[in-house]
């Protein structure tokens, strides 16, 4: 029974890992984004992982790609899919020194 449970968990985790591994990940350790700029195709997602020790509120007001994740505690991992080509200025609302530019290509 225990082996079956472990096997199921392995498959589920493997599937999740597979799905997650398809996107680029943005880390937030030390109140900093892991990249100053990234490029992503229209319709693709970026994964925002709060692996910091404080909450972060990732958002953008760039037209066509606005989003607001709200205040997320450490450990939170969320995909954001960009639907419009162009430049997206992503910040943390709480820590505006945290800035990155996402270029969404066709």
């Amino acid at each position: 029974m225990r082996k079956l449970i472990l096997l199921t968990l392995a498959i589920v985790a493997g599937l999740s890992a597979g799905a997650l591994a398809a996107t680029q990940m943005v880390h937030q350790q030390g109140r900093m984004f892991s990249a100053e700029s990234l490029s992503v195709r229209k319709g693709d997602a970026l994964t925002f992982l709060n692996d910091d020790t404080v909450p972060h509120n990732i958002m953008s007001t760039s037209p066509g790609n606005e989003f607001n994740l709200g205040s997320q505690p450490p450990g939170s991992m969320t995909d954001v899919t960009f639907k419009t080509a162009g430049n997206v200025q992503v910040i943390c609302a709480i820590h505006p020194r945290m800035k990155m530019m996402v270029t969404v290509t066709e």
Binding site: R2, I5, L6, L9, A10, A13, S16, A17, L20, A21, M25, H27, R31, A45, L49, D51, T53, V54, P55, N57, M59, S60, T61, P63, G64, N65, E66, F67, N68, L69, G70, S71, Q72, P73, P74, G75, S76, M77, T78, D79, V80, T81, F82, K83, T84, V88, A93, I94, H95, P96, R97
Partner: protein, 361 residues
Amino acid sequence: MAGSRFGRSVLFGTVIVLTGAGILGLATVSFGAATIGPTHKLDLVQKPASGIDALKAQYKRPSTIPFPKDNPYTPEKAALGKKLYFDTRLSLTSAQSCASCHSPGFGWGDGLAVGVGHGMAKLGRHSPTIINAAWSSIFMWDGRLPTLEDQALGPIQSPGEMNMQIDQLMDRLASIPEYKPLFEAAFPGEGMKVATLAKAIATYERTVVSERAPFDAWIDGDEKAISEEAKGGFALFNGKAQCSYCHEGWNFTNEGFQDIGLSSDDVGRGKFLPDVIKMQHAFKTPGLREISRRSPYMHDGSMATLEEVVDHYDHGGTDRPSRSDLIKPLGLTSQEKSDLVAFLRTLNSDLTPTAVPVLPR
């Protein structure tokens, strides 16, 4: 079922332990066009807590002041900037200068709950200090100005403050003969204009820094520099009291914006980000150098003493949706509170008195 962990997967260069990653929320409707997926909650393997030496290393005071590439330091710029900073003729009534509200006598603030402007009318917020402004990347309580050069021109033109139209100011300065050669020396080929006025004032302001405090001597290894209570306060600051999450590093701020639950109607940064819940009642985290010279405290000067400030954080203030997730009742004992205050008092240096300059005629 036995609660055995699944195990470790090394993903994306970070060690993440998946213990049944849960989905916190379904795709929320954002106010714009990007799509937000469900939020997964991971149990991160955090780095082990650093020892006291590694912690102290995070607080080491820098040895040089940063100046921006487009406005590097020169003694001529700083000297001109100092004269302008103390010159009351930069205000309409010739009664107020930058130094009126940002005075060396009051920790480079004014010792008032809120500032006083044109016609002695009370302003809305406490005058911030300019100490260590050289390290700031965002200015004003609500963060609406990006550079010190921008900020220098704000109060000059603000009708409630110095109430001086900038063209009128440039005419007035041009009519003071001794200013012209000072501008030429500081900005060869550019002379007296709005941009050089702002650059001179900002350059002077960047030279206003906190000097070496007893806390710094302790960081450097002198165990006799601060009391045992203050050392206990430092441990609480970084631990149970959770201050260092916002009042981070040698200058005691990471310039984040948070609502700390104060009972004030002022929405702060929320005015510019009305759709962002956590920005309502959010204000810029100030640094803590020279803090006991900078009373009263908070954006509205509503707290007269450091003891009141510590009590506020201990209680957690008003619980509302905009309040930072980091603010909550702390359960501090009275000894812990007094240790925290003892620590904060070690952040004062023997600031060199500032000589008021002789002004151009």
